[in-house]
């Protein structure tokens, strides 16, 4: 009697489990664990915020879905006819976003055939380790790619100058005007050898593509300003340390984090971080330790062996 009951229970339990696995190939839309109305309203809010602020930070899957919708709405804005206006005003949740759509964005993206948004991956969120992303409209006043490329260009121009002129001259003169160099680099094929890295040249060409005539000069000025800042940083940190020496006399000189790439360093990050333990580094003969003289280490870390 007990055995019969037990077998019945086992059968009942096994029949509730689905033995065939469910696949999700080629599905276009994400559900976000929300009902259809909630999902749509969330995306509408995200698109409205994107139009209002032109740069938002959210999770990566939300950014991807928002980008897709936002680009379709911007196409509506470019069309500008009555039907588009009706549909866009039904979608967007703030009047400022609607006005910007038909005035600012329609002008800005008049020549651009699509691709009005850009997603930058930005690490993981602290609370739940969700992958984060910054979603922005291309060519907006706070364009991130513009800023980051100007910094990269500035750093590489400085490296080139240090190679050719030497640190002392560069410190005295500062970085010169770089517009001519940038114009050359812009026309060059990304794979060829020039002053800039291939990736930086590629980025440069991309960000200058749909901009006006003065864009190159603006970028050059930004790059040169950043190069001056890079030159000044070790001096400034050394000066700060000297200033605070009387308060804490035993405090060490400021050092860069492990793996930080100095200007002119060619080795990859992991190799730099591993130091003498990196694979491929020849073993150092005992007693042959020589300090690495570059501008940064001379001005920040100091040397025990320097006389």
């Amino acid at each position: 009697m007990a055995a019969r009951l037990y077998s019945v229970i086992v059968l009942a339990v096994s029949s509730t489990f689905n033995s065939t696995p469910i696949m999700k190939h080629g599905v276009a839309f994400r559900k976000f664990s929300r009902t259809s109305s909630h999902r749509m309203l969330m995306l509408r809010n995200l698109v409205t915020s994107l139009f209002e602020h032109e740069q938002i930070k959210t999770t990566l899957p939300k950014a991807r879905d928002t980008a897709r919708l936002a680009e379709k709405i911007i196409t509506m804005g470019k069309k500008g006819d009555n039907g588009s206006q009706t549909r866009a005003s039904a979608f967007l949740l703030k009047p400022i976003a609607l006005t910007k759509l038909f005035s600012t964005f329609a002008q800005r993206y008049a020549d651009r055939p699509g691709g009005y948004t850009r997603i930058h991956k930005f690490g993981n969120r602290v609370g739940d380790n969700a992958p984060h992303a910054i979603l922005e409209l291309v060519d907006n006043p706070r364009d991130l790619r513009w800023e980051l490329t100007s910094r990269a260009v500035g750093r590489e121009l400085l490296k080139d100058k240090l190679h050719k002129k030497g640190p002392q001259r560069v410190l005295n003169e500062g970085a010169e005007s770089a517009s001519e160099i940038l114009r050359q680099e812009r026309a060059m094929d990304p794979e060829n050898q020039g002053i800039l890295r291939p990736k930086t040249r590629w980025n440069l060409q991309k960000i200058l593509r749909f901009r006006n005539k003065n864009a190159v000069d603006e970028l050059a000025k930004k790059a040169v300003d950043y190069a001056d800042q890079l030159l000044a940083e070790p001096l400034a940190s050394r000066a700060l340390h000297e200033g605070s020496k009387h308060e804490s006399p035993s405090a060490r000189l400021p050092r860069r984090h492990a793996g930080h790439k100095r200007i002119g360093e060619e080795r990859p990050a992991i190799v730099v971080a591993q130091g003498s333990l990196a694979p491929g580094t020849p073993p150092r003969a005992p007693g042959s330790k020589k300090p690495t003289f570059n501008m940064e280490s001379a001005l920040t870390e100091g040397f025990k062996h320097a006389s």
Binding site: L5, Y6, G123, R142, L148, R151, A258, G259, K261
Partner: protein, 127 residues
């Protein structure tokens, strides 16, 4: 109609008990009787808990304490994995994740914009 029939059969049963057909009539009658009459008493096994259904040979239980060595061997694969997608930022040279933006650069850029916004009086012209 059926109840009338039943009463008849039960009546005939008591009368036919010593008869020749009692052997095969009795079970049929009782079966017929049990169909329609609701019973209030149920015959169930007395259960203290459902566990009494499962003989102890069925329940899985560890035979002995897992040794330190075996436990350590099992967790050999559970260590944290190294990140290999580490590069340097082309702008500031600090360490960053590949295909991600440099948080150091972003922080500086963001602070610059916020300072500019403060200077120009909280209204940034984004048009």
């Amino acid at each position: 109609m059926a109840t009338v029939l039943l009463r008849r059969t039960s009546a005939s049963l008591t009368f036919l008990r010593p008869s020749l057909f009692a052997n095969w009539l009795a079970p049929v009658a009782t079966a017929a009787a049990s169909l329609n009459v609701p019973r209030t008493t149920w015959n169930l096994p007395a259960l203290g808990s459902l566990l009494e259904l499962f003989p102890s040979i069925v329940l899985a239980v560890p035979k002995s304490k897992t040794s330190h060595s075996r436990k350590a061997m099992r967790s050999a694969n559970k260590g944290l994995k190294d990140k290999r997608n580490i590069t340097n930022c082309a702008g500031c040279g600090s360490v960053k994740l590949a295909h991600h933006i440099c948080p150091n650069c972003y922080s500086q850029i963001s602070r610059q914009f916020k300072d500019k916004k403060k200077e120009s009086g909280d209204i940034i012209d984004l048009s």
